[in-house]
């Protein structure tokens, strides 16, 4: 599904953030990406939806080298991914329904199909009753669940989550992880960046550990 081959990324102001990263994620795998803050977790995740491009090396997604795709192709690549953020990144002037519908709107779904899928996604995260609310009227855990619904509504083969539970208490974090496990059971590939080592160890999944830009474990 995803393969990093000798990938390096350097920024002119902070030097090499990722050096010589090699790993392979199989279809249907669920893996964690961990390490101290500044170890390069976020940068690594940004390379996959081409928010950043590597300076060296190759990244294969579904067998295609995505480090070289043109700017025009980037949106279509991103539609195959579900992105989940620590700060949720919801649009506060739109209802929960409209937030979740955004990926479908972008992909040009018909209205009926959109409504059907949005409700299915909201049902999955247990927020069907709150579709008419605005994000700020929801708790942090609920907001993140809206973010998750938005990431899965278009049924991407892979989900990338950057510290999805970073702002949540342990109880809510566990709920979110349960959701991820459910998605994984139906075949979705997941890569979750987190520094919550307790949570990670309890799940007992593969863990990629970054330290100062190098992959020191799980590669």
């Amino acid at each position: 599904m995803l393969q990093f081959i000798n990938v390096s990324k350097r920024y002119s102001d902070s030097g090499e953030v990722l050096s010589d990263i090699c790993f392979r994620l199989e279809k249907g795998e669920m893996a964690f990406l961990t390490g101290h803050s500044g170890a390069g977790k976020s940068t690594l995740l940004k390379l996959i939806p081409v928010i950043e491009r590597p300076n060296r090396g190759q990244i294969l997604f579904d067998g295609r080298p995505i480090n070289r795709i043109s700017k025009r192709e980037v949106p279509y690549l991103r539609r195959k991914l579900g992105l989940i953020f620590q700060d949720y990144r919801l649009l506060h002037d739109r209802t929960v329904f409209d937030n979740v519908a955004l990926p479908l709107l972008i992909a040009g779904y018909s209205e009926q199909e959109m409504a059907r899928r949005v409700r299915a996604a909201l049902d999955k995260v247990g927020l069907l009753r709150k579709e008419k609310r605005y994000p700020l009227a929801l708790s942090g855990g609920e907001q993140q669940r809206v973010g998750i619904a938005r990431a899965i509504v278009h049924k991407p083969p892979m989900i990338l989550a950057d510290e999805p539970t970073g702002n949540l208490d342990p109880g809510l974090s566990a709920e979110i992880m349960d959701l991820f496990k459910e998605f994984n059971q139906v075949g979705v590939t997941l890569l979750i960046a987190s520094h919550d080592l307790d949570l990670i160890s309890r799940l007992g999944r593969r863990t990629l550990r970054l330290q100062q830009g190098k992959l020191i474990e799980g590669g």
Binding site: I51, R78, L91, L102, I106, S110, K155, V186, G187, V188
Partner: protein
């Protein structure tokens, strides 16, 4: 067949598993989501405009004013041109009889001139009729009433035949008329027409210059409004990009906003020009009567209206396009 297909559930999916499906869209229904999207964007961009009524109204107003100036100037010149051409068609010659001659002599002169081969019509304006006209239209009514005699001569108003166009021929006819014993003097009303025409031509050129400059102004107004809107929706754009929105998708609502600004501004400009003309209608009618012309003020024609609103819409869309394309790169997620 196509209609029943459109009405059917727009797509049929083949599920490989609960989270990974391939969409197979039938060709006949492929257009429907696209149409939905555009109609939806048209509506939502208008709703967005209404959400900030003051800012939107100001933008529309500024566009309208910027377009009203060249448009009304154009209509003004168009009317002046049409008015002068109806007058020119009459190519009027006024033959003023010697003041001591009576109306009857004038009548005989008129009758005689009607038979002239180069004259189409000759009509006597009696001393009394002349005075009446002067009283009604000159504004000197009271002053004229104070006179105890009529100082005006009888006038024969002559319309030469249409075939008489060459200046030399006209001059020959004038010389002939001047030589008549009853003539005091002869006046041809075309000289100032030529001058007027050159002035109108200059004015028309300046309308073109004005239009270009003010169109640029409209472009900047729309551009600036859209730029502010872009800034307000920064977060939304970044999120949309992350989720896989193409530049085209992001640009679309702004282009529609530009469309609305242009359309509303152009329509308002049309209204303003029409009000301006209504305001001028009654004085211009008086002016036309003064010249004995059947001329009535003409408003913006259908094609001019289309041009005004069409150009305004185009400027709105182009202004939005330039700004969005320019700023879209800055809004890449980091």
């Amino acid at each position: 067949m196509p209609i029943s297909r459109l009405k059917r559930k727009p797509e049929r999916r083949r599920e490989t598993n609960a989270f990974h499906t391939r969409r197979t869209i039938r060709p006949a229904s492929r257009l429907q989501p696209y149409v939905d999207l555009h109609v939806g964007t048209l509506k939502s961009s208008f709703i967005r405009l209404r959400r900030t009524p003051l800012a939107s109204i100001m933008t529309v107003l500024v566009i309208a004013i910027a377009l009203t100036i060249p448009a009304s100037f154009h209509v003004f010149i168009k009317n002046a041109r049409q008015a002068s051409s109806t007058l020119e068609a009459t190519n009027q010659v006024s033959l003023f009889l010697k003041p001591e001659l009576a109306n009857e002599t004038g009548g005989k002169v008129a009758e005689r001139l009607k038979k002239h081969p180069q004259i189409a019509a000759a009509e006597l304006i009696t001393k009394e009729a002349g005075l009446q006209e002067l009283r009604t239209f000159s504004g000197f009514g009271d002053a004229l009433r104070a006179l105890d005699f009529n100082p005006l001569p009888a006038v024969v108003s002559i319309k030469p035949k249409d075939s008489l166009t060459h200046p030399d021929d006209v001059e020959k006819l004038l010389a002939e008329l001047r030589a008549l014993p009853e003539t005091d003097f002869v006046q041809l009303d075309t000289q100032w027409m030529h001058k007027l025409h050159s002035i109108l031509t200059i004015a028309q050129r300046s309308v073109v210059v004005f239009s270009v400059l003010l169109s640029l102004g409209v472009l900047f107004i729309v551009g600036n409004t859209i730029r502010l809107e872009l800034q307000n929706r920064r977060e939304e754009i970044v999120v949309a990009k992350l989720i896989g929105a193409t530049d085209r998708f992001i640009r679309r609502p702004f282009l529609y906003a530009g469309f609305w600004y242009g359309f509303l501004g152009g329509s308002l400009a049309w209204l303003l020009v029409s009000f301006f003309l209504l305001f001028l209608r009654s004085p211009s009618r008086q002016l036309a009567e003064l010249y004995g012309s059947p001329y009535t003020l003409s408003f913006l024609s259908l094609s001019e209206t289309e041009l005004l609103i069409g150009a305004s819409v185009l400027l709105g869309i182009v202004g939005a396009w330039i700004v969005v394309s320019y700023h879209l790169r800055e809004l890449d997620p980091t």
